[in-house]
């Protein structure tokens, strides 16, 4: 075999470069595909979400149907694969249905807070000066409260209820999202190409839309996904305290609360709803970590 001459070698090199340099999203896709933990978490999470959405198709029993004689039936009872709760309702059914409210109450505050906090942070970071001062100092006041205290204080003041719990959690997550968006935006704003766009006559809105948003959205999105796990734990925590969902709705935190009285009768059935909260929050955390390293985001 003869050695390649230099021109052939150059073609081969160029071909290799062409193969190696994928687009950003293609690279992210490949990184995720190669990361087994993240893929597994994605699958588990999809199963949890789908089983909550299609609970009425999967579940065999009525989540509200009580039975005096089946109260606190142990795991493995005939017709009650995961036992029954303190009212004799089927645990498996209620755990499936419970995911609906728990996931909704955990995820929606992050979505709303991302919209509000993201906008505030973008405005504060892009405009700087007094606007920045005003927005960020108000956020500092909210930062003076540990998150659990703030959530409990707001929903305690507003009273129990799903809506109030979502409002209070949204208020808890607006400040951190605002702060991260502000700091990323401030960094992007002073980059050379933004100056170049400004010098070439682009207006504020165009610069934000074309140059700033595309650089800010990624990190802020990743940061927000890392908050979902905390949000789910807090949302169920509020219900656990009696400040979120109200009986007889199936919701993991509330189920944990009402079953707490029964730990001496049937301890492991009582622990089940919390295990669901744990698995959901764990998979969200692992997935968020996986996305972060795949998207190469440093916060």
């Amino acid at each position: 075999m003869t050695t390649l001459d230099s021109r052939q070698q150059a073609t081969v090199d160029a071909a290799q470069v062409a193969v190696q340099s994928r687009g950003y999203w293609a690279t992210v896709g490949v990184r995720i595909r190669d990361d087994k933990v993240t893929v597994a978490c994605g699958v588990v999470l999809a199963l949890i979400v789908l089983s909550a959405i299609f609970a009425d198709l999967i579940a065999l029993a009525d989540p509200y149907k009580a039975s005096m004689i089946k109260r606190l039936a142990p795991i493995g009872t005939d017709g009650y694969p995961l036992g029954a709760d303190e009212m004799g309702r089927d645990m498996l059914t209620r755990l499936l249905y419970g995911g609906r409210l728990s996931l909704f109450m955990g995820i929606s505050p992050i979505v709303i807070a991302l919209a509000i906090g993201g906008t505030l942070g973008l405005v504060a970071g892009f405009l700087g000066g007094r606007v920045n001062m005003a927005i960020m100092r108000v956020m500092d006041v909210f930062y003076a409260f540990p998150s659990v205290l703030l959530a409990v204080a707001i929903s305690g003041a507003l009273g129990a209820g799903i809506g109030n719990a979502i409002v209070s959690l949204t208020l808890v997550f607006i400040p951190p999202i605002t702060r991260v968006t502000e700091s990323v935006t401030t960094q992007v704003r002073s980059l050379d190409y933004v100056e170049a766009a400004r010098a070439s006559g682009a207006g504020n809105l165009t610069i934000i839309r074309v140059h700033v948003l595309s650089n800010v959205l990624g990190p802020v999105f990743i940061y927000s996904t890392s908050l979902i796990s905390v949000s789910i734990i807090l949302a169920s925590g509020l219900s656990f305290l009696g400040l979120g969902t109200e009986p007889p709705e199936p919701e993991w935190g509330l189920m944990l609360n009402t079953l707490r009285q029964s730990i001496y009768v049937n301890p492991w059935v009582a622990a089940l709803p919390g295990a669901m909260i744990f698995f959901t929050s764990l998979t969200f955390n692992l997935l968020s970590d996986g996305l972060r390293s795949a998207m190469d985001v440093r916060l």
Partner: protein, 317 residues
């Protein structure tokens, strides 16, 4: 640096005022009459009006705020509507109890987290790193109120080895350094320690890994320092960040122990908040939230000052 400390300390004033406004607003945006906790629904109108005047609820909100602020500044948080006792008295009993829990949880979490994180950062990529990282992510994902319940199930229900609720024998509300009180402390402290352990493991791991990649570490090795001596440098450099995270965690546990206190029926500020919310005891709610938030503000100040004292680079930012 002194300049920085003074500026940082002065910043506590506007933040503190903002906190009072927020706490006041919180309680006054709550629906329903603030007197509903004490007045029976069939009370005569004159009596309601009289009480309203006595509590100052008949004045416009800004006036109420400044009257309240004036009293708060002199250390008067009002009288608990449901219990008929001074809010300050209630807090004097509850705050130390919560502090014991929070301090215990932080200490345990810090010890475990620093060890796990240090080992993980040092042996990056090896199995022990993967183990420590898994423990950390599990720690930050656990709903701690559920973990508390599971610990009770294992150690109280199944093994009957440790008490499942309360702070001491016979519903004790005053801490004592005896064996019975210590036994009551074990489960809540483990429960509270899990989140700080996870967070501190992650912080320490990242910090140690970053420091080990810096050039001065290679220089130390090249100079012929023993591994032990190099590690001393690493610890010195990792300390400020780690202490800052630990300080903030103490604050989070002080203000956020309500869920764990509910699980273990611990007579601290969490229980106080709980009963204030469900008895609609507004002065008690207001006072407890305010005091906990102020602790957090001061703790943040202390963390920043200590950090700038250990690492002067911090104050130049």
């Amino acid at each position: 640096m002194l300049n920085y400390i003074i500026r940082r300390a002065l910043y506590v004033i506007p933040i503190g005022l903002g906190v009072t406004v927020l706490v006041f607003a919180l309680v006054h945006m709550s629906p329903g009459d603030p007197l509903s906790a004490v007045v029976p629904p069939d009370a005569p109108e004159e009596m309601v009006q009289e009480l309203r005047k006595a509590y100052g609820f008949d004045k416009p909100l800004p006036v109420q705020y400044f009257t309240w602020l004036g009293r708060v500044l002199t250390g008067d948080l009002g009288v608990s509507v449901a219990r008929g006792r001074e809010v300050v008295e209630e807090l004097r009993i509850a705050v130390p109890n919560t502090f014991i829990l929070a301090a215990g949880g932080t200490l345990l979490g810090f010890t475990l987290g620093a060890m796990l994180g240090g080992v993980a950062g040092y042996f990056q990529g090896r199995w022990i790193d993967k183990l420590a990282t898994s423990v950390a992510i599990t720690g930050v994902s656990v709903p701690h109120y559920w973990l508390g319940l599971v610990l009770v199930i294992i150690f109280s229900v199944e093994m009957n080895a440790l008490p499942s609720f309360g702070m001491g024998p016979g519903g004790s509300t005053a801490w004592a350094w005896d064996a019975e009180h210590m036994r009551h402390l074990v489960l809540p402290v483990i429960t509270l320690a899990v989140i700080p352990m996870g967070l501190i493991t992650r912080t320490v791991r990242a910090t140690v890994a970053e420091i080990l990649n810096q050039e001065f570490v290679h220089a130390l090795h090249a100079k012929g320092l023993l591994q032990r001596q190099v590690l001393a440098h690493v610890v010195r450099n990792a300390a400020p960040t780690t202490l800052a995270v630990m300080g903030l965690q103490l604050g989070y546990l002080l203000g956020g122990s309500i869920l764990v206190e509910t699980v273990f029926q611990w007579p601290g500020t969490g229980s106080l908040l709980n009963s204030a919310i469900f008895e609609r005891d507004l002065p008690l709610l207001q006072g407890t939230i305010l005091v906990l938030a102020m602790f957090f503000v001061l703790l943040n100040l202390i963390v920043d000052v200590v950090q700038s004292a250990i690492d002067p680079r911090m104050s130049r930012r």
